[in-house]
Amino acid sequence: MADHSAQLVVIGAGPGGYTAAFRAADLGLDVLLVERWDTLGGVCLNVGCIPSKALLHAAKVIDDAEAMAEHGVEFGKPKIDALKLRDWKNKVVGTLTGGLKQLAKQRKVRVVHGSARFASENTLQLDNGETIAFEKCIIAVGSEPLMLPGLPDDPRIVDSSGALELHPLPKRLLVVGGGIIGLEMACVYSALGVDVSVVELTDTLMPGTDADLLRPFLKIVKPRYAAIMTSTKVTGMRATVPGIEVSFEGKDAPSIGVYDRVLVAVGRRPNGDQLDVENAGVNVSDRGVIEVDNQMRTNVSHIFAIGDVVPGPMLAHKATHEAKVAAEVAAGEKSYFDARTIPSVAYTDPEIAWVGLTETEAKAQGIDYDKSKIPWAASGRALAIGRSEGFTKLLWDKETSRVLGGAIVGPNAGDLIAEIGLAIEMGADAADIGLTVHPHPTLSETVAFAAEAYEGTLTDLYMPKKR
C-alpha cells in the first residue's frame, strides 16, 4: 500500500503546477500536489516574476522621482534601506504564497512537501521514503538557473534567486548574460545606485529580439551603466579580497574587471531529468526537456508535462495556459493547446514587449509583411509622463491586412501588448483595431494609431503617402 494515493498527482507547485491542480480539482478530480519547497508558488512567486517586479517598482519610483527634478519637482536623494526593501518584497511574496495555500485548502487539494521521483508508471517516491500511487500525473517541475562551469564557490557570485536578496548592496555589479532576467536585475541595482556592467556573449542584448526594440532601451541605460559589453566572453573568475576578478575576451572589453557581486544569468535549464521519469517510461532529452503533444501528454498517455520542462519559452503565462489544458484532458475533456501566440515582456525600464511574429522571424522564414510604427513622441500621454522614447509597431499580412505581430517599447508596454495578443487570436485586421475607439489620452491609443497608419487614416502624424 502506498502512503498516499490520488486520481491526479501534480509534481511542482509553480504557476503551472498549482493552476493544473486547482483546475483539475474544480473538475472533480481528487488531487495531490507535491512541492519540494516549503511554500507554494514555485520560482515565479518566490524567486522570480513577483519579487523582481516588486523591486522593479521600487526602482521605477526612484527613477521617476529623479526625472521630475528637471521639470520642477525635486526630492532629496533617496535613502535606501536595502534590508527594509527586501522585507517588503518578502511580504508581497508571503501574501501571494499564503493565498495559494488558502486556495488549495478551499479546493481540498492535498499538499505534500518533498522531492518526488518516479518509481513506476503509477507510483512516485518522496525523498522521505513515502510512496504516492496515482492514476494520472502532471509533471510541472520547472527549471533552474544555469551556472557557468568552473566558477569559484563564493557568496558574491549569485544566480537570479540570489540577486533578489539585496542585502548588502554591492557597489559594483557585473551581470553575466544580457537576456531579460539579467537586464531586469541590472535595472533594479542601477536604480538603487549600484554601478552596473553587463556582459553578453552574442553581439546584441536580448538575442532574437528585433534590433529596433533595443534602441530606446539602450538610449536610456547606456549612459547609466558602467559598461555594456557585447560579443564578449567571460574567460574566468577569481575570488579575491577586494572583489571577484573577472577576465574577459572581446573587442570592447577590458581584459580584467573587479566586482563586488556577479550575477550569472546565462539561461535556465529544465528539470525534466531530475525525477527518474524513465522509470515511468517517459522520454526526456539530455537537456532535461520532456516532449509533449498538443494535449500536453508525454509519450506515456496518462502522464502530462507542462511549463518550463516542455519546449517553448519559459514563461509563467505559458505554463498556466498549458496547465489548464493538461488538467482538463486529465479530467476527460477534449482540450487542446491552441494558443497562437505567447507574449514576451522584459520588465526593464523602458519595458519591451512583443507578441506574435517578429521582424527577425519574418525575415528568417521569408514571410512577406507590412509594418506600421508609431513613435510615442506622437502620443500626448507619453509626453505628459515624460517618456517619449518608446514606440508601437505592428506587422500586417499584406493580403488580408490581419495583424501578424506587434511590439511595444515604453512604460507599461507589457500591459499594452495584451490588446495585440487578443487581436491576433481573434484574427483582427487593421480596420478592426483602428475602428475600435481607444480612450484618450492613453498609451493604448498608439496601438490604434499604428493600425490607422497602416490603413492610411491616421491624422495624429503626417505620413507620406505610400499607396
Binding site: Q106, K334, Y336, M426
Partner: protein, 541 residues
C-alpha cells in the same frame, strides 16, 4: 409550508471579523439559493455571502461597516419547504415503434399532501423541451389568481404556450422575468394558496398511467451508430492553426472534433462562428456534404425604398420557424405532385344528412373529416406513404401508427396540429378533434405534443377556392395531400353527361420513397374511398 431560517455567515477560511461593505438585498426581497445577500471584505478580497435557500428576506441584522465572523446570524429568511407542486402534469406521448409509452413526470415529494399555505409554482413537463424562453409574465406580486389562470407564456421552437396555475391564491412573489430560460421544475412564482385543492382523480390517473409505463415501457431503441461515411474527418493541425476563428470557436471545434479548415465562415470577412461549427457537424452527421443552402446562389437584394414608400414588418414567430423548414424540405426532397379528381357527390349528400344530428352533439361534420377518414384507409393500403427515410438515407422507417397533421391557417402563420391515432377514430371523432385543435391553433394555445409526431399531412384550401396546387411535403414525412375546392362537373357516365361534385386532390410526394405509379395508385384508391360513403361513416372498431 413556510418556515423562517437564520442566515448564517459561512466558513470564511482563515478570516474572522470581516467588514460588511455592501448590502445587496432589502427586507422583503425574494432571493434564490446562492444569490449574494451582503458583501464582506477581507484584507484579500471582497466576497458575497450567498443565500442558503430560495426565499424572502424577512430581516437583516447587519449594517454597512459592521464586523461579522463565521457563524454569525446576519438575518432571517422565509423559505418554502418541501411543498413544491407540479402544475398540470401533462402526459407526454412518446411513440416508440408499435407501443405507445405514456411517460409521466415524477411527482415531487409533498404533492399528495397539497394544502393551502405558501407553495412554489413550477414549470410542468414540457415534453422534449428544456431551457424554454419566458416571453410574457402574466402575473405580478400581489395578484389574486384562480386555478388554471395563466402564469407565464413560454415559447418552444414549436409553439407558445401558457403555463396555468394549479392552485388559486395570492401571488407572493414572481420569480421569473421575460427572457428567462426555464425547464421542467423551474420555479415560477410563490403563491399563498387558497383552500386546499385535493385533485384525487388526477392522482389516480397519474398512478394508473405510471403503472402502465412500468409495464409497457420497452428499453428505448439505441440510436444506430453513425455510419463510417458520416464521421468527422481528422483535423489538419497546420490548417487549424491558421483558421479565421476566435479562441472560443476553436475550443468548440476541438470539443466536437471539427477540422476548421473544412468549415466555411459566415461571419464578417469569412470569420468562422460558433454556428458555422455546429452547422458543419450537423451536415456531416446527416450525410450532407455541406450545410444546407450553403452553395445556393442568393436572390438579388433590392433597396425597395428607392421605388416608393415601404413599411418593414418582422416575420411572425411562426413564420420564422416554418420558413427554414419549408425551405429545407423544398431543397432536400425531390418533389412530384400528382393531381386527381374524386367524386364526392354521394359523400356530400350523406354529410348533409348527418350534419344536423352531429351539430346537436356539438360536432361540425366538415368535408375534411371525411377526407382524413379516406386518407387513413389509403395509408393502411399503401403503408410506404406513411413511412420516413432514415437519417442516413439507407432505410425506410415504417410507422405502425397513423397520426394525421392538418394545416391550419392562423393569424400568426401556418400551423400543423396533429390528430393522433386517426386510424382508431370514426368520422365523428375526427371531426370533433379537428374542431378542437383548430380552435386551439387559432388561440395560439396548442401544446408542443399536439404539434408533433405526424406521419402524413393534409392541407385543405377548398374552403377558400382553387383548382389545384403543389403543397410542400412536411419532411420527414414523405407525402402531403392538398385539397382544393370541389365543384359540379359534367362526368360522362357511358351514355350521357352526369353532373357530379368533383373534389380536386393534389398529392405531393418524396420521389426517393414513393414512385409515380405508387402515387397514382394511392390517389386512385383515395378517390374510391371517398366515393364509398358507407365505409366512410362506419364506426371504427
Amino acid at each position: 409550508m413556510a418556515a423562517t431560517i437564520d442566515i448564517i455567515v459561512p466558513d470564511l477560511g482563515d478570516f474572522d471579523e470581516v467588514e460588511v461593505i455592501e448590502l445587496l438585498v432589502s427586507v422583503g426581497d425574494s432571493v434564490a439559493r446562492e444569490d449574494g445577500l451582503i458583501t464582506v471584505e477581507t484584507d484579500k478580497a471582497a466576497m458575497d455571502i450567498p443565500s442558503p435557500e430560495n426565499g424572502v428576506v424577512e430581516s437583516l441584522s447587519v449594517a454597512i461597516g459592521d464586523m461579522v465572523s463565521s457563524g454569525a446570524v446576519i438575518g432571517k429568511l422565509k423559505v418554502e419547504v418541501s411543498d413544491t407542486v407540479v402544475i398540470a402534469p401533462a402526459l407526454h406521448y412518446e411513440p416508440t415503434g408499435d407501443t405507445t409509452v405514456l411517460a409521466v413526470p415524477a411527482r415531487p415529494e409533498g404533492q399528495a399532501q397539497r394544502s393551502g399555505g405558501v407553495q412554489t409554482l413550477v414549470v410542468p413537463d414540457l415534453g422534449d423541451f428544456s431551457e424554454v424562453e419566458v416571453i410574457e409574465v402574466l402575473i405580478s406580486n400581489g395578484d389574486r389568481i384562480k386555478t388554471e389562470d395563466p402564469l407565464v407564456t413560454i415559447e418552444t421552437d414549436k409553439a407558445a404556450m401558457d403555463v396555468p396555475a394549479i392552485v388559486g391564491g395570492r401571488i407572493e412573489s414572481v420569480l421569473v422575468k421575460v427572457g428567462d430560460k426555464v425547464s421542467e421544475g423551474s420555479s415560477l412564482a410563490i403563491i399563498e394558496a387558497d383552500a386546499p385543492a385535493a385533485p384525487v382523480e388526477e392522482v389516480t390517473v397519474d398512478d394508473a398511467a405510471r403503472a402502465e409505463t412500468v409495464q409497457q415501457a420497452p428499453a428505448p431503441a439505441k440510436q444506430p451508430a453513425p455510419a463510417a461515411a458520416n464521421e468527422l474527418p481528422t483535423i489538419n493541425e497546420a490548417g487549424f492553426s491558421s483558421a479565421h476563428a476566435s479562441p472560443s470557436v476553436r475550443k468548440l471545434a476541438r470539443e466536437l472534433g471539427v477540422d476548421l479548415v473544412q468549415v466555411k465562415g459566415s461571419g464578417a470577412k469569412n470569420r468562422i462562428l460558433h454556428d458555422d461549427v455546429k452547422a458543419f457537424v450537423k451536415a456531416i452527421l446527416t450525410g450532407q456534404a455541406s450545410a444546407p443552402g450553403g452553395g445556393l446562389p442568393k436572390t438579388p437584394s433590392v433597396d425597395f425604398s428607392k421605388f416608393g414608400e415601404i413599411d418593414v414588418q418582422p416575420l411572425t414567430r411562426i413564420q420564422k420557424i416554418s420558413g427554414p423548414r419549408l425551405q429545407a424540405s423544398w431543397i432536400n426532397l425531390p418533389h412530384v405532385t400528382q393531381h386527381d379528381l374524386a367524386d364526392i357527390t354521394d359523400m356530400e349528400t350523406k354529410r348533409q344528412e348527418l350534419k344536423g344530428a352531429a351539430k346537436e352533439r356539438g360536432i361540425s361534420l366538415t368535408p375534411l373529416a371525411f377526407v382524413i377518414k379516406a386518407v387513413v384507409s389509403a395509408l393502411q393500403e399503401y403503408p410506404k406513404v406513411n413511412s420516413s427515410l432514415s437519417d442516413d438515407g439507407k432505410n425506410l422507417v415504417f410507422k405502425k401508427y397513423i397520426h394525421i397533421g392538418f394545416a391550419a391557417d392562423t393569424e400568426q402563420g401556418l400551423m400543423v396540429p396533429v390528430i393522433r391515432d386517426a386510424d382508431q377514430k370514426d368520422v365523428y371523432e375526427l371531426a370533433a378533434e379537428l374542431g378542437e385543435l383548430s380552435a386551439l391553433a387559432r388561440d395560439g394555445k396548442l401544446k408542443s405534443d399536439q404539434l408533433q409526431g405526424a406521419t402524413f399531412t393534409v392541407s385543405s384550401l377548398g374552403g377558400i377556392g382553387g383548382t389545384a396546387f403543389t403543397p410542400i411535403v412536411n419532411a420527414p414525412e414523405v407525402a402531403i395531400l392538398g385539397v382544393s375546392r370541389s365543384s359540379m362537373q359534367p362526368v360522362w357516365n357511358g351514355s350521357e353527361f352526369d353532373p357530379r361534385l368533383m373534389l380536386p386532390l393534389s398529392l405531393s410526394y418524396d420521389h426517393r420513397v414513393v414512385d409515380g405509379a405508387a402515387a397514382v395508385r394511392f390517389t386512385t384508391f383515395l378517390g374510391k374511398a371517398l366515393a364509398d360513403v358507407d365505409t366512410l361513416v362506419q364506426a371504427t372498431p
